[in-house]
Every structure is written in structure tokens, then in C-alpha cells.
Symmetry: C2
Subunit: 140 residues, 2 copies
Amino acid sequence: MKAKKQHGHPEAILQAAGIRPTRQRTALAALLFDGCDKHMTAEQIHAAVRKTKARVALATVYNTLHQFTAAGLLHEVMIDSNRVYFDTNIGNHHHFFDEATGELHDIPADNIHIARLPKTPPGRKLDRVDVIIRLRAAAR
Amino acid sequence: MKAKKQHGHPEAILQAAGIRPTRQRTALAALLFDGCDKHMTAEQIHAAVRKTKARVALATVYNTLHQFTAAGLLHEVMIDSNRVYFDTNIGNHHHFFDEATGELHDIPADNIHIARLPKTPPGRKLDRVDVIIRLRAAAR
DNA sequence: GCTTCATTTTAGAATTATTCTAAATTATGT
DNA sequence: ACATAATTTAGAATAATTCTAAAATGAAGC
């Protein structure tokens, strides 16, 4: 296994990322970093954490997701003008987006090979390459 | 001779796309389909059309951009949660996104070659493949 | 265990982009 | 020109996200 999934205690993950593990952050980390890749919106994460006993304000969910993103624990995936997903898979990979259902699925990085990438303009460095394969319902 | 890409009168372009060329639509088409590739938000387009003598309501700009998109005259590019660009380049191409400046630049399709595209899931057809190369200021 | 101070969380207000609504205008067919 | 259907419009409504300032919590020292 190449890239190791996030697992272990949520608190340890936060410590390692230099984020103070408060009750709310730990609850969110426990939910997000359970070893399974997820694509969730802030609202979905808010709903999910409220199903556990923890109470976390929506504003805190947003704050925390942005902190996690800045720390490299999450990626934001911009797919649709009114859907921003936070992706717990921070390894190199790409996405299928099903426009019929709004679902997002991972594509392992080695299933796509990009040749002839243009050179990066001067004074810039490559941050990342997003590939989104958009799908629609097949005609029949 | 004029530009090689979109050519002909704006009205002809609309007719060909099966869109009735009203005054507002013609004004927007004239602005957008002048042969130069553009990436503009609805607000930018609204501001630009108001600089000409034409008066077009913002709601009409939105309606019209969506009609043009549905007709294949424009593409929407989703880059950033609060930046939706309408792209007048409807040919096969990709984008550099400069996170430092918020600018979007075209990459001709043949500058990127994607091999080993995964197979499309059953019941779905491939709509399009978006490649976004995200750039940041270079470290030094 | 308490006190202090910085950090974090919170509810609700504010903001922003976009969509909706229903009335007014404009275009098309006869 | 007339009737009818399509389009445009201003402003209200919506939805996601951010902001604000006050309250709660956490860490460090006594």
C-alpha cells in the first residue's frame, strides 16, 4: 500500500497537523478520518456530526473544514456552482462526477495518465492537477 | 477577414443554435462571440454589456447565458466556490488556474494527452473531461 | 483547584451569487 | 393590426457561506 490512509486517534491526527484538538475538532476528525474516503458538503458533515451526540455549530463546521484543508487533511473539490465537496482522500486521484445524481466517485491516479503536460508559467509552481470526468445518463 | 472561430453575425449564430435572436440576446452574442476566447462571470458580462448602449437586466444575462450553455455556445467552468466562468471557447481544451491572481488561461487540448481513461460506468455516457492545472506563486 | 488570558465556538446577522415570480414588454403568425 | 406566445424585467426570495461580537473553553501558572 502506497499512500497510507488517515487512521489512528483523531486527536493524534490533529496534533500531527498542528491543530489543537478541541472537542468539536476531534468529533469532526473522528467522523471524517475513519479510513474510508468520503466526499461530503459542509451541510452533510454538519448533519452527520449532529447524529452523534456531539453538538457543533454550522459555523464551526465551516471553520474547521477550512482549517483541515489548510493543514492538508482535506481537499476541496469544485464540481458544480452550488456543491463544494470536502474530500478526505488527499492522495493523488481524480473524479467521476455523475450529473444525473450529483454523486462524486474517485478514480485512482494510475487509471489516468497525462502526457505532454504544458510547462508551468514562470514564477508559478504546479499546485495540483484536477481531472473531472463528467457523466450523464446514457441515451437509450 | 475577421476572426476564425465564431464567425458570422451574432444573429446568424443564434439562428443556427435555434435561439430566437432578440435584442438582448443579440447584444450578448455580439459581445461574447467576437472571435476571441473569453472567460467571464455573469456579473462581468452584465457590466460589459451595460457599457455598450444596450440595457439588459441581470436576470436576462443569467437566463441567456444558460440558454447559450444549453445550446452548446458556451461552457461553464467551475474553478472556485465563488467564481463561475462562462467560457466562449467551446472547442476541446483545458485550463490553467492561477490561484495567486484568480486568472484562468486556456490550454489547447493537444497540449495534454490523457491515456488510460477509465471506462464509463454502465448506464452513463461521458459528457466531458475537464482538466484544471492549479498554479501557485513559486516558492523561492 | 482556581485565575488569567488567548483561543475557539456560537447564534444569528450579513453577504453574495443566483434563481424565482408575476407583471410588463416584445415578437410572431394570421 | 390583433391575438397569442415568448421574453424581459425589477425586485423578492433562496441558499451557501462568511462575518461578528459575545460566551465558552483550554492551557499555563500559581
